[in-house]
């Protein structure tokens, strides 16, 4: 068993995740390396979901009966936990959505409908990057098409980093919004937030950060980031699917128009017009994902008890080990930074000219779950001239033995197609 400095006590942690015990394909031990797609769930989160449904299930913010009050307290309690988790100045800055995609779409739509000074229109520019997940590309393309605004982006260096060499030409006085990913889901790159935020603030542009691959893996402090909006999703950080978060600065959430209309988001309604509830409720139309929010609250408690700084250190040690070992596999090319510096826990690679589908299939037969394809970041594949990649991604319960299994598995893949 390989011991690396900084590793967590994975033996204890893995006992919290029932699914990690299962086997696949006639008794093969599962090696789950698809954490960038979704994480597994600890018993503490599953128990919170069950408890909620077994003891307190009701709709929120309306009944005066006991269950309604309990459900509301649990739902709003989850908001408090998330606010503390990201160091938000106010709990009212935490909007619950269904996922990070909805969070990003919410911002993009609001900026198209907003009054000045936020309004994105034909005389303005939107800036994104070439390493975005499709969820941080398509909403901005839609906004650009609808408003006539110009969509610009930062390209990538051969090393898998943002090319910021012409930052002053990309982000200009016309730029209204800059939206970028904190940690790339395909390259693993951790982006230099400060440099981008400083330039955006110089020209008065709003900053949106997609933290989907950051929130599960490192301490996240929205005040330190200096952004105006931060989006992430619950299911990649031990919570259930169906719950996402948009953090936004309070004055912006107050000034900007609502996204979806319906129950819960109003103050008064007449047949001719309505007034809206204050944020965050203004952005939470309809019955929210209550149980899922409760699950997210439990996930935040679980991760915080272990410590996000310790989780970050664990993954850093593991990524260092994985990069070193993978670089020794013949014909393997890492797509993204080949060091562990400023690098998250997702490692994409190609293996000679063996197609990632074939790599993934042969690994699966050995019980190893990886993701194959373009990872909803097709422009990255185009940039590096590859059809797709195989991606292994780690989490707090991943071990050096998982890395060893992957490396052995890849050897088997090479023999199979050799």
């Amino acid at each position: 068993m390989t011991h690396l400095p900084g590793l967590l006590d994975t033996e204890a942690i893995r006992k919290d995740f029932p699914l990690l015990d299962r086997t696949v394909h006639d008794g093969k031990k599962l090696v789950y390396l698809d954490n960038a797609a979704t994480s597994q769930k600890p018993r503490q989160v599953l128990d919170a979901l069950n408890d909620y449904y077994e003891k307190s299930n009701a709709n929120v913010h309306r009944g005066v009966h006991t269950l309604a009050e309990e459900a509301t307290a649990l739902y709003e309690g989850a908001r408090d936990r998330v606010a503390a988790f990201v160091n938000a100045p106010s709990r009212d800055e935490v909007v619950f959505t269904k996922n990070a995609s909805e969070s990003l779409n919410l911002v993009a739509n609001m900026l198209g409908w907003a009054d000045e000074p936020y309004r994105v229109d034909r005389d303005t520019e939107i800036v994104i990057t070439e390493m975005e997940h499709h969820s941080n590309i398509v909403p901005w393309q839609l906004l650009a098409q609808r408003t006539g605004a110009k969509l610009k982006w930062f390209g990538l260096t051969d090393e898998g980093r943002l090319d910021l060499s012409r930052i002053d030409e990309v982000i200009t006085e016309r730029t209204k919004v800059v939206s970028f990913v904190l940690v790339s889901n395909i390259l693993g790159t951790v982006n230099p937030v400060e440099t981008i935020v400083r330039r955006a603030q110089e020209v008065g542009a709003l900053v949106v950060i997609d933290a989907s691959q950051a929130a599960p893996h490192m301490p996240l402090d929205v005040q330190a980031l200096g952004a105006d909006f931060v989006a992430f999703t619950g299911h990649k950080m031990c919570a259930p699917t169906g719950i996402g978060v948009l953090w936004g600065r309070q004055e912006l959430l107050e000034d900007l128009p609502p996204f979806l209309g319906g129950g819960e988001m109003i103050e008064t309604v007449t047949m001719s017009s309505s007034t809206y509830a204050p944020a965050p409720h203004k952005f939470e139309a309809g019955t929210p994902p209550i149980a899922q929010a409760v699950g997210l609250g439990a996930a935040v408690d679980y991760l915080s008890a272990i410590g996000m700084d310790r989780i970050e250190a664990h993954e850093h040690a593991l990524v260092q080990y994985a990069v070193d070992r993978l670089c020794q596999v013949p014909d393997l090319r890492i797509i993204g930074p080949v060091t562990a510096e400023d690098r998250g826990a997702a490692i994409s690679f190609t293996l000679g000219d063996i197609h990632p589908h074939d790599v993934g299939q042969v690994l699966d037969e050995q019980g190893i779950a990886v993701r194959v394809g373009h990872h909803c970041a097709r422009p990255v594949c185009l940039r590096y001239g590859i059809p797709a990649t195989t991606r292994a991604s780690f989490y707090l319960y991943s071990t050096p033995a998982d890395v060893d299994a992957l490396v052995d598995g890849l050897e088997h893949v090479r023999n199979f197609f050799g």
Partner: protein, 158 residues
């Protein structure tokens, strides 16, 4: 081992030594993609009357999608369109069988090397890989025929 049922030697042979790969003249060209994995194929069909004179293709994808295009070329070139359509339908039926269809002699006679894909039908995520070139061929053939049809109609009404 189950993998061998998917990666039959016939499939790996076609993957490593594809038949008819490369783009040549055609009456219609289509470009199909598999959005979930990014596999792509550009495929051209050339007809001579009701006979398929050539199916040429270029693309990128996994061994299953590449081998499938190679088998298609080997199987359909030289056939009458109606006969080729029947082969395509039988192949589609096999691929949608979720591994429950055991190819019999009659099916083997129609599909030849393509029966090797029976094992792929057990893997839902890979069925689309096997079908990519076949759907492209169907589309290209329909376009080639409708272009031919349009031309002849125009000639007829002129």
């Amino acid at each position: 081992m189950k993998l061998d049922s998917m990666y039959q030697d016939v499939i790996l042979d076609h993957y490593k030594h594809p038949h008819g790969r490369g783009l040549r003249d055609g009456d219609a060209e289509v470009h199909h993609v598999n959005p979930t994995c990014g596999d792509e194929i550009t495929l051209r069909v050339r007809l001579a009357g009701t006979t398929i004179e050539d199916v040429s293709y270029e693309g990128q994808g996994c061994s299953i999608s590449q081998a499938s295009a190679s088998v298609l070329n080997e199987l359909l070139v030289g056939k009458e369109i109606d006969e080729a359509r029947r082969v395509q339908e039988v192949f589609l039926e096999l691929m949608q069988s979720k591994g429950k269809l055991e190819p019999d002699d009659a099916m083997e006679e129609v599909l030849e090397d393509a029966v090797a894909f029976a094992g792929v039908s057990k893997y839902p995520a890979r069925v689309k890989c096997a079908l990519l070139s076949w759907m492209a061929w169907k589309d290209a053939t329909a376009q080639a025929l409708s272009q031919g049809g349009t031309t002849s109609t125009q000639e007829g009404t002129a």
